[in-house]
């Protein structure tokens, strides 16, 4: 019989549909796995309220586990505790960078208007000389940046706390 440790390991194979280099474990959206004789209960949480990937992730979990021979899988979504970018794993941060997305850096105080942008290094050339183009980007969790040295535009996975 499988135990919850096996399930956690299996879930590393479920990719985030919008950032496929990250698994849902890297992203930190799996909060809990409980296995008993009747069923396997997996608790996940969305990154943002409107994250359109949640239903897809749920289906992928059920599908993957059924391939592994595990039926009676229930996936539950909870909102609290609310997800934070602090839950992205070290390996997740490394994978993001290799994929060309700058991982989150420290929180900026959002009540300070026109304050300094978060200091983000360019994921292509490593330069620290970058500028924020927009606080909002290609998905709810990203901002748009541009490198002032190699001029490459890039995504920054913005800090959410």
């Amino acid at each position: 019989m499988v135990n919850s440790e096996n399930i956690w390991k299996f879930l590393e194979e479920v990719a985030d549909p919008e950032i496929p280099v990250l698994s849902i474990i890297d992203l930190g959206v799996v909060l809990d796995v409980v296995v008993n004789e009747e069923k396997c209960l997996i608790t996940i949480t969305p990154t943002y309220s409107g994250c359109p990937a949640m239903k897809h992730i749920e289906n992928q979990i059920v599908e993957l586990l059924s391939i592994k021979g595990i039926s009676n899988v229930e996936v539950k979504q909870v909102l609290s505790p609310a997800w934070t970018t602090d839950w992205i794993s070290e390996s997740g941060r490394r994978k993001l960078l290799e994929y060309g997305i700058a991982p989150p850096v420290d929180e900026i105080d959002k009540s300070i208007l026109f304050g300094d942008d978060p200091k983000v290094n360019c994921p292509k050339c490593g330069s620290a000389s970058t500028r924020m183009i927009s606080l909002f980007g290609s998905t709810a969790c990203k901002a748009q940046y541009q490198c002032k040295d190699c001029l490459e535009p890039f995504d920054y996975f913005k800090c959410l706390k």
Partner: protein, 250 residues
């Protein structure tokens, strides 16, 4: 069923839904690409919040209607959103000013709602607050840029403020629904929210060299289902598919 709690959750959910629908009208029409993306990102956050709130409202109602049915199959009189959020997008300044007045309310509101004793509501508030902080930073900075920008942008956003100010008293509307829930659930006290709102609004508007109009005439009615003509038009578009093809899914 707890009718008052249902009504309270609908208020918060309807504000998010209707403003989310309004902002999504900007999709493909933003003045610059980055703002097109920003406004629709904010719309997505709001519609996500609305989904969470309607799912909870549906539970309170005992599953009589699903979250989708609450969103798409009510009539205008059954919506509890503020008149402010249903006002037309107008120009970019009108949209930004509407957003700013609302975000400046939502942040202190959600901060307080995280302390309520209803775990579902406090969870939704905790989640939504993180998003709202980004929204407020975005709308505040634009109010200042436009207000303290060129003569043209200053005059236009001053006009936006003049025409939207009359909907701001309603942000703090309370009736017997609040009275019956307030103590039991430790819900936000709106007079406290108002104090923080006015302080922040005054700061940003000063920085933006804009003047709060001194007309005292204020509209209300949204919280009790009495809406402006604009809501009907929003619903006609938003509900079209479900009305024309009942129960359709994709």
């Amino acid at each position: 069923m707890n009718k008052e709690l249902f009504e309270y959750v609908l208020r918060v959910g309807d504000d998010s839904l209707i403003l989310g629908q309004r902002l999504s009208e900007w999709c493909g029409h933003g003045p610059i690409l980055e703002e097109d993306i920003a406004l629709t990102n904010i719309a997505l956050d709001l519609i996500g919040q609305a989904t969470n709130l309607f799912e909870y409202a549906s539970q309170i109602e005992g599953g009589k209607r699903s979250a989708d049915q609450l969103a798409f199959l009510r009539f205008d009189r059954e919506y509890r959103n503020l008149l402010l959020v249903e006002q037309p997008n107008g120009d970019f300044g009108d949209t930004i000013m509407r957003q700013f007045l609302f975000d400046a309310f939502r942040k202190p509101f959600f901060e307080r709602l995280t302390f309520c004793t209803d775990m579902q509501l406090s969870g939704i508030a905790e989640k939504s607050l993180k998003e709202t902080k980004y929204h407020l930073k975005h709308s505040s900075e634009w109010v200042i840029r436009l207000g303290d920008g060129t003569e043209e942008s200053h005059n236009r956003i001053q006009n936006s403020l003049d025409s939207l100010w009359r909907y701001t008293d309603e942000l703090f509307f309370e009736n017997d629904v609040d009275a019956s829930l307030l103590n039991e659930y430790h819900l936000p006290i709106l007079s406290d929210v108002k104090q923080e709102w006015i302080k922040n609004v005054e700061n940003v508007l000063n920085e933006a060299t804009l003047t709060i109009p001194n007309n005292n005439w204020q509209f209300k009615g949204g919280r009790e289902g009495l809406h402006s003509e604009h809501l009907g038009k929003i619903l006609a578009e938003m509900q079209y598919m479900q009305r024309a093809y009942p129960n359709m899914e994709w």
